[in-house]
Structures are given as C-alpha cells and as structure tokens.
C-alpha cells in the first residue's frame, strides 16, 4: 500500500522561489530528451545544436533577439495584469489589433519616417489598449470573468484580421490574403546587431514596467489590489482604476509587439502572420512573474527555444512540433512546481490499509 500525504507548507523557502524556474526548464528538457531518443537522435547533440550553436553564431543570436521582441512585449502584457491579480489571456488578440492599426497607418499616411513610425506605434498601442480595455472594464464594473472575455475577444481580433486582409486592406495588386508591402518610411530601421529598433521599444517597456511596479505609488496600489482587493478598497485605492490601468497598459504593450513584428520584420500584414506569440506570452509571464526583468529573461529563453528548435529540426530532421512539446512541458512542469512549492508531499510505503484512505482525504 502506498499512502500519499499532502501538507500545506507554512512557509515557502526562499531558495525554492529561485530554483523552480530553473528546475522546471531542466526537467522539461529531460522529458524532451526521451522524445529525441525515441526518434533516434542523441539528446545531447540535439540540445547543443539547439542552444549552443544558436548562441554561438551571429545569425542565431540575431534571430533570437528578433523573436524576443514580440515575446517580451506580449509577456509584459500578461505580466502586468497578473500583478494586480488578473489574467490577460487575450494578449494574442491585442497584438493582432495593434498590427492591424499600425499597418493601416503605415499604408495610408504619408509622412517622413521619424513621424510616421511613432504614429504607427501610437496607433498600434491604442488599438491594443482598446481591445484590452473591454475585458478590464467588464471585470471592474460588473465582475465579468476577464479570462473568458479576453480570450474570446482574441477570436474577434483574428477574424477581423482575416476579413481585412481579404477585403478592405488586401493588396490591390495580387490575390493573396495579405496587405501591400509597407513603404521604406514605414519600416522600422535596424538598431544594432542586425536587429530592428523594436528591440529598443521592448527594453524600454521592460524598464517602464519595472519602475512602475516596483518604484511608484501606482505600483504599490497594483501590488496591493493584487494581494487583497477588499483591503485595498478600504484604504481608498480604486480597484476600477487599477484593473483598467494594468489591462490598458498591458494591451498597449501587446499592440506594440504586433506592429514591431510587421514593420520591423515581415513588411506586410498577412492572415496568420504570427505563431501565437500572445499565447506563448502566458508561460513567459508565469515564469517571470516576480519582476519585469524576469519576464525579459523568460522572453529571451522562449525566443531561443523557437530559433534553436527550428535549427534542431532542420539539422536532425526531427519534427518542429518537438519544440512545441518542449514549451508545453515547461508549462506543465511550471504548474506542477507551483503545487510542490505550496505543498509538502510525503509518500509512504508499507502502511496498513488505513493509510490509503488517509491519502484520499
């Protein structure tokens, strides 16, 4: 007979807080190794290609940084509401909304680049903020679950995009579901290391978020509302304001992610232009939830997974889906780690029958 006893931990040891993300990633990689072995590929060699080669080559580093831009920005879009105790599952939709608005400005406004690009970013941020504002308002005003509304609005955004690139915004010269190419003025220039200036936007966003949460009175309120909104209200903090604020700023970041991906990398908006950055943002925010800087590190790591994963799949002929499996494993282990962080588990063998009933309770 095996009895399993769970006891809630009175205190989470400090080291456990730091160890969980690292252990989580290592365990996920170990499980991925099993899949690699089954495919007849040496896990060590494959992981070396994935991480080592990517980080050691200029091309790999550049690609990782480019991928990291939307991931970090979208990660912040989930992270900030999380601080206030809310889940923004709709970063994907906010990102798409930003891409649509920014691209529209880029295609239809004639201005020199120094004015046009900021305008595109403002439009994208506003569009993302608008879409994020809806679930926030519903939650703050009527207590409608923001997880559901933000998620469902994502589908609205995706369908709208699908319609626009086949209709009003379609490239008039062709029949493909995408817009015309953005002009040079509407293209984000290279900043450093072959990476477009969206990277600077992402780093600034991280810094702004860090300062906002850790150093300002608003951040104090965000933290308090996230920890106990009833006490926060009693202290005169406005839950309405905070809920709206974290979602709107978060949505704006997601919008920026959308336009930097289009104007910095792809050059035109096409249906399904982005591979779920807004959803990947959720594990990024969970991994990095202790601070905005951790979100940035998690974003970089997931970018590395994407880039390294595709070189691995090319080099060894393993399915690209393996990378998605790795990501999924990381999420699974993360959730499991949360559980182990909170509970102390004793597994006991060779106890009498009553041990089993004890375990059930």
């Amino acid at each position: 007979m095996v009895g399993i006893d769970l006891t809630a931990r009175e205190n989470v040891p400090r080291w456990l807080n730091y160890a969980t993300p690292v252990v989580t990633i290592l365990l996920a990689l170990a499980c991925g190794a099993v899949a690699l072995l089954a495919l007849g590929v040496s896990p060590l060699a494959a992981y070396w290609t994935m991480f080592g080669d990517t980080l050691l080559s200029t091309f790999g580093r550049t690609q990782t940084l480019i991928k990291a831009v939307p991931l970090i920005l979208a990660g912040l879009a989930v992270y900030l509401p999380l601080r206030a105790g809310l889940f923004n599952i709709g970063a994907e939709g906010q990102l798409v909304f930003g891409a649509i608005a920014g691209t529209w400005i880029g295609l239809n406004v004639e201005l020199p680049s120094v004015l046009l690009l900021p305008l595109m970013f403002v439009a994208a941020g506003t569009a993302g903020a608008f879409l994020a504002g809806i679930p926030a308002w519903l939650r703050a005003k009527w207590d409608v679950n923001e997880i559901i509304t933000s998620l469902l609005l994502t589908f609205v955004a995706l369908q709208l995009q699908s319609y626009l690139v086949r209709g009003p915004m379609q490239d008039p010269t062709g029949n493909f579901p995408h817009t015309a190419q953005l002009s040079a003025a509407a293209t984000i220039p290279e900043a450093l290391l072959g990476v477009h200036a969206g990277l600077i936007v992402a780093v600034v966003a991280v810094a702004v978020t860090y300062v906002l949460v850790r150093k300002t009175g608003l951040g104090f309120e965000i933290t308090f509302v996230g920890a106990n909104d009833a006490a926060a209200r009693q202290a005169g903090m406005s839950r309405f304001k905070i809920y709206l604020l974290v979602f709107v700023i978060g949505g704006a970041f997601a919008g920026l992610a959308g336009i930097s991906e289009i104007a910095g990398l792809q050059g035109r908006l096409r249906a399904g232009f982005e591979p779920g950055y807004g959803f990947t943002a959720i594990p990024i925010a969970l991994l990095g939830r202790n601070s905005a800087i951790n979100v940035m590190l998690a974003g970089l790591f997931f970018a590395l997974l994407f880039v390294g994963g595709s070189s691995m799949s090319v080099a060894y002929g393993v399915p690209a889906a393996l990378v998605e499996i790795l990501q999924a494993l990381i999420i699974l282990f993360l959730i499991t780690a949360e559980f182990f962080k909170r509970y102390h588990v004793d597994i006991e063998f060779d106890r009498a029958g009553d041990a089993a009933t004890g375990g059930e309770a």
Binding site: D5, K215, G217, F220, F224, A231
Partner: protein, 572 residues
C-alpha cells in the same frame, strides 16, 4: 469527571529557529473534562495544540490517548485517532453549503450507489461491484443522509443552523458552529477549540458553553484554548497555564481566582479596569441620520440609524453579533453603500462618496475581519503599514515612491506599538504575525494618521490580555487627542470601560441609550437580545430565541424606542 487521564502529552519539546515554542510541557486531560489552556499570544498554546493535531511534529516528547501511544504525522492521523480541532480562523469553503463543508473529506456516494439503500434503481450486485463502488465514492456525492444527520446533530446541541445554506451567507458565530459540527460529525473523543469565543457575542458564548457542557457530560473531552479568564472560570474543570513556552501550573478552577490566573499568565499583576480622564467633547465629527444599508445578501440590516459623535467622545455600540454592526462600521468607513440617509464627517457631506474620500476626510477604520479588510496577508509589514500613508507627500520621491522612507515609517510603527515578531519590515509578511501583533499593526497604522474619526469594530477580539490593555489605552489616548471614536464591541466590559455614551443596536436599529455610569448590565443584555424591560406588556420574556429574526410586532415596538434614542441624541 473520570479519574484517569484520557489524554497525556508528556515532556513535549518543540523548537523553531531561534525560539523554543514548547519547553518540556506536560498536559493531561481526563475523560469528559473541559480543560482550559490559558496563556498570552505566543505562549505556546497554539504550537502545543498543532502538535496534538498532527500539524507539527515535536522534537521530543510523547502523546498518549487512552492506552495508545500516538504517532501524529498529519491531521488525518489525529482525526483517525478521534481528535477534532476547531481553528480560530475557520477552514470553510464559503461557496459550499453547510452540509458540503461538513462532509468534505468524508463524503458519501450518491443515494443511488449506496449499498444500504433499498429504493435504489440500481440492482444490489452492481452497487456492490468494487469498481462501481470506488467510482461512485470518487465521483458522486450524496448529501441527503449526511444532511439529515448534521441537522440532527445541530438540533441536539442547540445550533441554530440551516444545513443547506451557503457558508458565505452565515455570520461568524454560525460559521464557528459549522466548524464544531465538522468535528462532531467525525465522532471525535477529544475536541480542541482554539479561542472559540473570540468571535462570539456573550449570549452566543453562553450557548456555546451550554453545548460544550452537554458534550462533556456525554464523555467528550474538551481542550479550550483561551486568554479570557472569565471563560476559564465559567466553564473549565481544570486549567493549565502556559507562559513563554513553559507550563506554569495546572490547577482546578474551583480552587483559584481570576486574579491568580492573570498573574500566572502574565507574570505580573494586570489592571482590569482602565482609568480614563474626562475629555471635553467638541464639535460633531460624525453626523449620520436615517442610515439604511443592506448586508451582502441584499437584506436590509441598517434600518434608519441616527448617530452623532463629537470630538473626543467614544460612543460604544453594544449588540449581539449580526445585528448590523458590521454593516454600520463599513458604512461609516465608506466601504458599504447606503440605500438611504445622510452621512457628514466634520460637517462635509460624504453620502455616497468613495472610500478614498473617507480616508482623506480623516476617517480611520479598524475592521472586524483583519484578514479581509485590515491587511494583505501575503504582503510585507512595510506594505501593510503604508497601506494608507503611501500617498502622503513625505513618501514622494519625485514621481516615485520612496520605499526607504516607507520602510523607516514601518519600523517606527513597529517600535512605537511594540509589534513583536518583525525582524525586518520588508521580509516579514503580515500573515506571519500573530493575531494580537497584526491587530497592533493595523491600529498603529490607523492611529498614526491622527484621525478625526476612528471606527473600531471588535478591536480586541482574539487578542491576548497584554495587547488588549495596550489597544484600549491607545484608543483612549487617541480620544484625548480629540478623535471621535465609534467603538463596536460584543465585550460589555470593553464598552463600559471605554465609552462616554453607550448605544445598543438590535436588528439594525438603536434600541437603547445610556452612559457607563448608569449602565446596568442586565438591562443592556435584555436590550441586546431584543427583549423588553418589565414595564412593557406581556410577552416580554422571550430571551435567547429573540436572537433569531423576530416578528413584525417586535420591529414596530423597537421603532418607537429608536425615536426616543434619536431625540436623546439630538439633545446631547
């Protein structure tokens, strides 16, 4: 009282980093005995009981129950051995019903699957199939039989509870009864109650004592943790006093006095009465008229209250829990919406204003439920100390918040109010503090603002004797600074000791007003329970039952007396 020890805890030693919580403690409890466990917060009572309940493992020492030596690694071991515990902070799930909470962990399968159910549509062979059985036990829930049993238990011990009600809709007193039911449902032989009366009104406490005596008569052993001396002498057979982790003494209650016990507990003489100076009453800081508000369920719980509080005046509001105190306190602190009436603070109309406006107008609030409204458990002492002060200019560093200054501020509160257990204000969370120290932190924060009006709801509930003294004195000191105080308490001594004026609240109305000098406890008790004094007509003697919602005639009666009170208030 049986003559041999039923429970023996021998030489229990438990050390936490830096603290010896239990220093070789012996405790023995007889069968059918009510045993008081007395001590200040931090004396080691809770640790000892957590060891008994399998939550902590002792570093050394042995526990015997009956003739068996117990190895208690988890609460489940304790429950299996027949030990039940009612915690101070309830472990209930608000969204579930009473019955669902009680059967948690001890579910029965749905009636259709039960082996002893003759009316089941399923043939017995299927019901007895092992796979079906285990599936049914895991995935189905039958509440009919348990509900009936729980209701019987509730009725048997005089618990006024509807087993199908949601726990969220019950008041604290009722929630505690659910906790006790949980233990009784599991057929315990030894019941540990951790400060059970901390949340009860005097009448409810008496009822609890009746129930406990009845349980003890039936052979149940009860350990009663408390720091209220009156309760020990009222109900316990013997009492063990702990101080600083050591057992000071175990004495039969009949052979001791409250003063002796207090000295054993604190190690010095304790003042039971606080001397207060007369403070001059100035202008009104609070003028409320015709206040009406609903409770969380949308049922009217304030039915037109008038209340005026002047500078330097303490208005004590006495009443049995659940008669509108919570709603009144919340309405005055600006966090409960009024359905009618006017509210003025320092002459400014704040009817319908935001909580922020109340904070800015100089209203401080010590809530009844510390963990819900008073603090954020998972945030640091710094955050909680600065919960209202963070907006002040002195903490502004340009557009940023000066956390260093906030830290120094928190440290100064910790020092001034002697808040113990805070080694580092950024590192220790509010949830790490004991009840008394957390309450001191909240009070420190609220008083340091030098408020014009202080709303204190049950400020000393669940707090040890030393801290009670401290908190009461702090409130009186604030009164001398000219703060108007609304003190809501179920502790009549507290009300009469601290107040300048006493109002009794019953079913959302003030039914009686007096002063501490003229206060007659018996009369207060009658008014609190909605009873009527002798000069009123026939059906006057409707004692405890009157706590339950009463008939319309009753309400009409008390409206009259409210008018009297209102008139008296105006004349003041």
């Amino acid at each position: 009282m049986a003559d041999h020890a039923f429970l023996r805890m021998e030489d229990i030693y438990k050390e936490f980093p830096g603290v010896v919580a239990n220093d070789h403690i012996d405790l023995s409890v007889n069968g059918g005995e009510i045993h008081g466990l007395l001590g200040e917060n931090g004396a080691g009572k809770s640790t000892l009981m957590k060891i008994l309940y399998g939550l902590y493992t002792p570093d050394s020492g042995e526990i015997y129950l009956g003739d068996d030596r117990l190895e208690l690694d988890t609460p489940q071991d304790a429950i299996d051995a027949g030990i039940g515990m009612v915690h101070q902070h309830f472990k209930l799930i608000p969204r579930l019903t009473v019955a669902e909470n009680v059967v948690l962990g001890q579910r029965e399968p749905a009636a259709t699957f039960r082996a002893d159910n003759d009316d089941s549509r399923l043939p017995e062979s299927i019901r007895n199939n092992r796979v079906v059985k285990s599936l049914a036990e895991t995935f189905s829930l039958g509440l009919d039989a348990p509900e009936q049993r729980i209701q019987e238990l509730a009725d048997q011990y005089g618990f006024d509870i509807d087993v199908s009600a949601n726990v969220a809709d019950l008041d604290v007193g009722q929630q505690q009864r659910v906790e006790i039911l949980k233990a009784l449902y599991r057929d315990v032989d030894l019941l540990v109650l951790d400060e059970p009366t901390a949340v009860l009104s005097p009448t409810e406490a008496d009822r609890l004592f009746d129930s406990l005596s009845r349980l003890a008569d039936e052979g149940l052993s009860i350990i009663f943790i408390t720091h209220k001396l009156g309760e020990v002498t009222a109900i316990a057979d013997r009492v063990t006093v702990l101080r600083e982790g050591r057992r000071v003494d175990t004495v039969p209650v009949a052979e001791t006095t409250q003063a002796d016990l207090a000295e054993l507990m604190v190690g010095r003489e304790v003042l039971f009465r606080i001397e207060k100076d007369d403070a001059a009453h100035g202008d009104p800081v609070l003028e409320a008229s015709g206040l009406r508000a609903d409770d969380d369920r949308g049922i009217e719980s304030l039915s037109g209250l008038d209340l005026t509080v002047r500078e330097g005046e303490v208005v004590g509001i006495a009443g049995v829990s659940g008669n509108g105190q919570t709603e009144l306190a919340e309405a005055l602190a600006g966090i409960r919406e009024l359905t009618d009436g006017d509210l003025r603070i320092d002459g400014a109309d704040l009817t319908g204003a935001s909580p922020r406006a109340f904070v800015d107008a100089g209203v401080s609030f010590v809530p009844e439920d510390r963990l819900r409204y008073g603090c954020a458990e998972e945030l640091s002492v710094l955050h909680n100390a600065g919960m209202k002060a963070y907006r002040e200019d002195r903490f502004a560093d340009g557009p940023l918040l000066d956390y260093d200054e906030l830290g120094r501020y928190a440290e100064s509160l910790v020092e001034d109010f002697d808040i113990r257990g805070v080694s580092d204000v950024t590192d220790i969370d509010a949830g790490d503090l004991s009840g008394g120290n957390l309450q001191k932190l909240i009070l420190a924060r609220e008083l340091d603002r030098d408020p014009d009006l202080l709303i204190a709801n049950q400020p000393t509930r669940g707090v040890d004797v030393g801290a009670i003294e401290f908190i009461r004195e702090a409130i009186l000191e604030q009164r001398e600074q000219g703060t108007g105080v609304v003190l809501l308490s179920e502790d009549l001594d507290e009300i009469t000791d601290l107040s300048d004026r006493i109002l009794v609240i019953y079913e959302g109305e003030f039914v009686y007003e007096t002063t501490p000098e003229n206060a007659d406890r018996e009369r207060l008790g009658i008014e609190m329970t909605g009873g009527r004094v002798a000069d009123e007509p026939a059906d006057a003697v409707n004692s405890p039952e009157a706590v339950a919602p009463t008939a319309a005639t009753d309400g009409a009666e008390s409206t009259d007396s409210t008018a009297d009170v209102a008139a008296a208030g105006d004349g003041d």
